[in-house]
Amino acid sequence: MTTREEFLSRIRAEMLKTGGLFPASPAPRPSDPRAVAETLRRQLAEHWPGALERFRREFERVGGVLYRAASLEDVPRVVAGIAREREARRLVAWHPSALGGDLGPALAARGLEPLAMPPGEVGDAHERGRLRQAIADAEIGLTGVDLAIAETGTLVLRSGPGRPRSTSLLPPYHVAVFDRTALIESLSQVGVLLELWHRDELETAAVISFITGPSRTADIELTLTRGVHGPKEVHAIFVEREIRG
């Protein structure tokens, strides 16, 4: 087997033989991503309605549906409406600490069967299997959002305690809840935040998922088909009053 040293020294030996094709440098990185992020946040505190409008336009272009709710308490009403039209009942949700509040009782009162994910890992393999089955059987996955990118209509979700990856993946309907603090204008601004998250090791995650509309394929005769493996519908609820988790 090739070792790390053998592998790298072969690369170095080849690199010594050439000066490259032309002078080149990587993209200039923000020297202080925290300061840049802070500036972006201040700017968006004023410009967020424009960013939200752009997000809506792009999100709808990729097949998403955007709703508005006055506050987190108003979210179960919107979710129940989505569920009713699709005759869906079983719902799995991020843990209340990750979602920003416990919507379970209100959802149950509206006829849904909500199941909140545990706040941390589950040691018992049998219980883990049961939870996975519950997520796989659910019709709706209710999650939060870390970033909503206006340029592309993309939702960014970090995995972590209380926010299992498959809640936004296995159920056919994904419903994501966000407020204006998640809004961001462009992909290049996302780059700044990703740099920042990685400086703060605590804020980074095992998986960061960018989700741009429902799962799709065009592998048979280039005919667009939705919901091949992931959700066939993605709904986003914008909450006017800031969610405090």
């Binding site: 070792t3 080149a24 941390g120 939870l131 209509g153 998922s209």
Partner: protein, 471 residues
């Protein structure tokens, strides 16, 4: 088409592709649609051209410090509890994956589309070792059921009609279904959902890896990349060493142009940043994360003539615009990577011998350079390959002798002056109405598929001399 078909010469492979009416129709529809979607995506993206230049520069900058970035990547992945493996050859890469499968007692592996795993023929090796590989990208799933190979980098089953897919599902899955993409996709969803939930091993490629953060990036539309990295207990990513980028800032430059070039989408549906195995406090995610760094001819090209092709993003844009690919499709090329960039990658992986015919399967029109998101100068390298094939005497001797003679002729004023009258004499038995349709002996190779214009009764030079005298 299996590798065995390489026993048939390229000319015949291309010929039968051109006689296949269904394939011709599928190719025209697909490539034309891809071209239009790509054009629209860039038309409404004013930053596109600048970002393409920047992406090109980032790739070159990365290669100039490749050792340093790789060390950074490796350290960051290991720090998070992932493991990195090094494979010089396809055999070594297969052995690494098989070893992981054996050690973890894996019985079934779900795979998201990965050209790197195609390149090392991983599926056959897994099967032989008693591990069932299941391709989960719909296109790859279809061609796995059909025991074929991908015919396009991003749309592997582009050559199949919906009727053919319905017949295939009927035969392989024992399901009688309508030839409707919607229905067929739903069947695949059900079949594959169960595999995702029960597989032990998730195998992926990698579109990018970020050195600064130790992140492996997967881009898919279907969500299978997320499935195979969330559900099985072990995740193995196989990646060519050139896929690395320095930072998250660099990554965003590539993500901004990749989908636009590949499918004409502004952004692919799922971009998944994987940063090691499951962390403390997480309900799910793999217990083990492995990255296999693959050489397979790439490292040699750092200082070789094909260096620029190490910048390739595998978006497939050059295939769609290539007049040759549009005529013959992916299988006729005979190797893992088809199309203009595929010829270069084939030479990189398999040596110049493998492309002695393919190096000529290009009109050098340059459409590929215009379409390439990082502006790889493919025609320049194809010409270099042709030179190499000639210099190493891999090309047939007839070809070498004829072109050498032509070179001598074109470089000598006197020889050139006399070539006109001599050619007029020699062509007499073959020229009809100013055109030569068939040449004798081995020259016939030239006129097999094209006509040769006959030498004019008076050459330009002869007429010019006449005019000078007349004035």
């Amino acid at each position: 088409m299996s590798e065995g078909d390489l026993s048939v010469p390229f000319r015949r492979r291309a010929g039968s592709a051109m006689k296949d009416a269904q394939l011709q129709e599928a190719l025209t529809i697909a490539t034309t649609k891809f071209i239009g979607l790509r054009r629209e995506a860039f038309e409404e993206f004013p930053d596109g051209e600048t970002l393409r230049d920047q992406a090109r520069e980032i790739k070159e900058a990365t290669l100039q410090s490749l050792d340093r970035y790789l060390e950074q990547l490796i350290d960051n992945i290991e720090r998070r509890g992932g493991r990195v493996h090094y494979a010089t050859t396809p055999e070594e890469a297969r052995a690494v994956v098989l070893d992981i499968a054996r050690r973890t007692g894996a019985r079934m592996a779900v795979k998201s589309k990965s050209m790197a795993s195609e390149e090392i023929h991983l599926n056959e090796a897994l099967e032989a070792a008693g591990v069932t590989p299941v391709e989960t990208d719909l296109g790859e799933y279809i061609i796995q059921l059909a025991h074929e190979r991908p015919s396009h980098i991003i749309a592997p089953a582009i050559h199949k009609t919906k009727e053919q897919v319905a017949d295939l599902f009927a035969k392989e899955l024992k399901r009688e279904v309508a030839a409707d993409p919607e229905v067929l996709t739903r069947i695949a969803r059900v079949e594959l959902r169960e595999k995702f939930l029960t597989a032990d091993l998730g195998i992926t490629g990698a579109n990018f890896a970020v050195a600064d953060t130790g992140t492996v990036v997967l881009v898919t539309n279907e969500g299978n990349g997320r499935m195979v990295t969330a559900l099985p207990r072990v995740h193995v990513a196989v990646m060519g060493v050139e896929k690395i980028v320095p930072s998250m800032t660099d990554l965003m430059v590539f993500l901004a142009i990749l989908a636009k070039s590949a499918t004409g989408q502004k952004f692919s549906v799922y971009t998944t940043l994987v940063q090691g195995p499951r962390r403390a406090g997480e309900l799910e995610g793999p217990e083990e994360f492995h990255l296999v760094l693959l050489d397979n001819g790439r490292i040699r090209q750092l200082a070789g003539p094909l260096r620029e092709s190490l910048s390739c993003l595998r978006c497939g844009a050059c295939l769609n615009v290539c007049p040759v690919y549009r005529q013959i499709g992916g299988h006729a090329y005979g190797y893992t990577y088809p199309g203009p960039i595929g010829i270069l990658l084939t030479a990189m992986l398999n040596g110049p011998e493998s492309v002695k015919d393919l190096a000529h399967a290009s009109s050098l029109c340059g459409a590929c350079v215009d379409a390439c998101p990082v502006r790889i100068d493919i025609p320049r390298m194809l010409i270099e390959l042709r030179r190499e094939v000639d210099e190493k005497k891999i090309a047939p001797w007839t070809e070498r002798v004829v072109f050498r003679a032509l070179a001598t002729l074109l470089l000598s004023r006197h020889l050139y002056r006399w070539s006109g009258p001599i050619a007029r004499l020699l062509q007499r038995p073959f020229a009809r109405a100013g055109v030569i349709r068939h040449l004798p002996f081995f020259f016939g190779d030239w006129t097999r598929t094209r006509d040769l214009p006959a030498v004019a009764p008076r050459t330009f030079r002869e007429r010019w001399d006449g005019m000078e005298r007349g004035s």
